[in-house]
Each structure stands twice: as structure tokens, then as C-alpha cells.
């Protein structure tokens, strides 16, 4: 299998990597240090590896890295940091929506994808938006509350990222 050099813009930063075709976007992101992107089921069922690819929510375990050549990727760590968290990340922390934390980066990216197109979602719309993200700890109540709280904070004029 021949390697090919691809260009990815990850969290605003241009990266070039050489790799064979049988490497997923999930693998290359984690190998480059973006370990906020979690390796979960590797079947597209759990959403732990969800990132935005050109603004659209995708499971990075089901995207071949070559298919992302020349495209923009946003992961949860590109949204904000411990020092400068994004309102979505603050809302998840403040509402107790994080228990083990494994689903959290994917949940946050699903929230970002929702609020980008629907800044004032109903509870039904929130549940639909995170329906591809599994949490095995909390039972979702706090996560749904976190998304609603994030929408309020962004509407209230914080940094909307």
C-alpha cells in the first residue's frame, strides 16, 4: 500500500501527514495528539469519536483519513481549553453532565453541530441531536440540561466560538 501525503486543517492548524489508505481519521487524529477524540465502538454507534468535518458532525472512525484530505476538522479541544473554555464546555461542567467523561468530547461536538444551525433548540431537538452519542453513566438528563444551558449562555452573548 502506497503512502500519500495529505493535508488536514485541524482546529485551525495546518498539518501534513503521510499515511497508507487503510488509516481512519480517528487514528490519525489520535496519533497527532488530539486524544480528546475518543476511540469507542469503531462502528458509528457510540459517537465518542465525533468531530466536525467541514462543519458537519461525523464519526471519525468511519472516515478514511485520505477522504479528509484538504478539509477542516474541529475537535472538542479546538473549541476551548481549561483556561479558556467554550460556553458549551462550561455548561457541561456546571450542570454535572460529565461523569466518566468518555462520551463528553463527542457530546460537545454534537452540541456544537446542533447550536450552529439551531441556537434555540427544544428538548426534543436536543435529544435528537445527541441520539448518535451514547453515555453509559448519567442517563442523559444532565447532558440534555447542559445543551439547553449552553444555548442560553451563547444567546446571552458569551464567546460563541
Amino acid at each position: 500500500m502506497d503512502e500519500r501525503t495529505i493535508r488536514l486543517k485541524i482546529n485551525g492548524r495546518e498539518r501534513e501527514v503521510s499515511l497508507p489508505p487503510n488509516v481512519t481519521l480517528l487514528r490519525v487524529l489520535r496519533d497527532l495528539g488530539y486524544v480528546d477524540v475518543k476511540n469507542g465502538c469503531e462502528k458509528g454507534d457510540c459517537g465518542a469519536c465525533a468531530v466536525l468535518l467541514d462543519g458537519k458532525l461525523v464519526n471519525s472512525c468511519l472516515v478514511l483519513a485520505w477522504q479528509a484530505d484538504g478539509r477542516e476538522i474541529l475537535t472538542a479541544s479546538g473549541l476551548g481549553s481549561i483556561e479558556h473554555p467554550h460556553p458549551i464546555q462550561e455548561a457541561f461542567a456546571d450542570t454535572g453532565a460529565v461523569q466518566c467523561g468518555y462520551c463528553t468530547p463527542g457530546m460537545i461536538m454534537a452540541t456544537k453541530a446542533l447550536l450552529d444551525v439551531n441556537p434555540d433548540p427544544s428538548e426534543e431537538e436536543i435529544r435528537e441531536a445527541i441520539s448518535g452519542n451514547l453515555c453509559r453513566c448519567t442517563g442523559y438528563a444532565q447532558i440534555v440540561e447542559a445543551v439547553a444551558e449552553a444555548a442560553r449562555r451563547i444567546a446571552g452573548g458569551g464567546d460563541s466560538g
Partner: protein
């Protein structure tokens, strides 16, 4: 787990893609990869060559062409769900795409892939059967169009030859006054494989009877049309008696299996209920009901 080794081509034109499919034995087209990558990771499939059709512009998008709705094979399920043209002409397909897997899968999965994979539970199949859709196939040696009710041959087996690519799905714009609906039953409300799915499309009354289509998913080796159920509704008035007869006929036409999602008995009961529930609102508020 790593993926098996393969060669990956990313052609930018349809002709180039068809040449690769013709000259590479065992080559398989890939679009969203939401089914194929999972099967490759599980070692159920290991094609030596993949042809990514995602860079071929003309394979995606929804358009109207000569009285037909044409959906490019690489159009994503999310794009179909959001399409105004689809909502206007075939709301049952919009509904099915809204219930398809999860948002992140819908952003990658394509209608061509869903049909090519030929799962008995493919969520776009019952609506497409109810819409009298056809599958457009292209190869280096020619083009052909296959009615979708002859496209599925068995579980994961289709009319498509290895050197052919699905380029589009097309269906006639339904007559004014046609009503269509889709329902699926899964083990949870989202991100679930259908236990039973059903689509109905009921045309307005016309001389010689109305056009009726009832299609079922996950109850036979392929998605099927319930033709006896259709006949039960195509002549006389669509009243409660006709609806019950259609539901009964649909259940008898299915050949469901028992698996971890449901028993054959349960699936037949579910067909009866789904068909009744789909038909009742279609006739309510209609003068011919």
C-alpha cells in the same frame, strides 16, 4: 482495530471511476463508508480495491428532470432529509431519512450506498419501492435503469454487477393529491436498525382505481412490496374494513425471520399495526375515505 489493506482510488470523474471498476477485479465503490468500513473492520469484507466516489460532483444532489425526481447516488441521507424538493414531492422519503441512524451517520451515509448494501432493513428502500423508483447503473460498457422492485435479489445481493456503479435513484413526481407516509419500529427511537418498517403511497381516486403502494422492510430477505395489500385498497372506498383487509394481507405476504430484534410472530403483528396506523391518517379528511 486496524482495517485490512486495500488500494484506494479517488477519481474526480465518473468515466475514470468506471474504468477503475472495469479493470480492477474485486473493486468496491465507497462513499460514506458507514456500512462498508464497519464490515471491513469486522473482517466480513476485505475488498482489495476501493473506489471513493466522493469527489465526483455530478453524483450528488437532488434535481427534477423530465417529470422525475432524480437523486444522485452520493447524496447524503442528511441532504435528502433537508431537501425542499424531496419534502414537496415525497415527504415519506424525508420522514425515512429523518429516522435513519443518527445525525453523524446521516451526514456521511448516502442513498446509493443504502440501496447498494441491500440490507433487508434499509430505511430508504420501502419509501423508494412505494415511489416506483428506479436505480440508474453505469459501467464502462453502458448504462441501464432497473426498477427498484427488481433490483434487490436477496440479503445483500442486488442486480448491480461488480463493474457497475449506482449513479442515481429516480422516481416519477407523484400525482397531485398523493399521500405518502413512513414508519419504522426499532428497539429505540434513534440510531436503531428497523425491526419492521413500512411505507405507503396512496394516489387520488381515478378512473379504473387509485394508485396504491405498500412497501415493507426487515420482514423478508429483501425489502418488498405487499401487492395483495395494495389490491385490497386500489378499487373500492378506503374504509376501516379495507384497511383491516390490507393490514392482514400485508402480514401474510411477509416472510419474517426471528432474530435478536424480534420473533417472526412479533414482526407479523407489527406489520398489521404499522400498516393500519399508516393508512388511517391517509384516509381521514379525504372525501373518498
Amino acid at each position: 482495530m486496524t482495517l485490512p489493506k486495500f488500494e484506494l482510488h479517488r477519481p474526480e470523474s465518473l468515466d475514470e471511476a468506471l474504468d477503475i471498476l472495469a479493470s480492477s477485479p474485486g473493486a468496491v465503490p465507497i462513499a460514506g463508508g458507514t456500512a462498508l468500513i464497519v464490515d471491513m473492520r469486522g473482517r466480513r469484507l476485505s475488498p482489495p480495491v476501493l473506489v471513493d466516489i466522493g469527489l465526483i460532483d455530478r453524483l450528488s444532489g437532488v434535481r427534477i428532470e423530465g417529470g422525475e425526481v432524480v437523486i444522485g447516488a452520493a447524496t447524503t441521507i442528511a441532504e435528502i432529509k433537508e431537501s425542499d424538493l424531496i419534502a414537496q414531492h415525497s415527504p415519506l422519503l424525508s420522514e425515512a431519512c429523518g429516522l435513519f441512524a443518527s445525525p453523524s451517520v446521516r451526514n456521511r451515509a448516502t442513498i446509493g450506498g443504502n440501496i447498494a448494501y441491500a440490507s433487508p432493513a434499509a430505511d430508504t428502500a420501502p419509501p423508494l419501492l412505494a415511489l416506483d423508483a428506479s436505480v440508474e447503473l453505469a459501467s464502462a460498457s453502458g448504462r441501464r435503469t432497473v426498477p427498484i422492485d427488481r433490483f434487490f435479489l436477496g440479503v445483500r445481493r442486488t442486480e448491480r454487477r461488480d463493474d457497475e456503479l449506482i449513479t442515481a435513484i429516480r422516481f416519477p413526481i407523484p400525482a397531485e393529491g398523493t399521500e405518502g407516509r413512513f414508519r419504522k419500529l426499532g428497539l429505540r427511537r434513534a440510531d436503531a436498525i428497523s425491526v419492521v418498517s413500512a411505507a405507503v403511497s396512496i394516489g387520488p381516486p381515478a378512473d379504473g382505481g387509485r394508485r396504491v403502494r405498500i412497501a415493507l422492510g426487515a420482514v423478508a430477505p429483501t425489502p418488498i412490496r405487499a401487492r395483495r395489500a395494495e389490491e385490497a385498497l386500489s378499487a373500492g372506498p378506503i374504509d376501516e374494513g379495507a384497511i383491516l383487509a390490507a393490514a392482514e394481507a400485508a402480514a401474510s405476504e411477509a416472510s419474517p425471520v426471528s432474530d435478536l430484534r424480534g420473533s417472526d410472530w412479533y414482526r407479523r403483528e407489527a406489520i398489521r399495526a404499522l400498516v393500519r396506523r399508516l393508512l388511517r391518517p391517509v384516509v381521514e379528511g379525504r372525501s373518498d375515505g
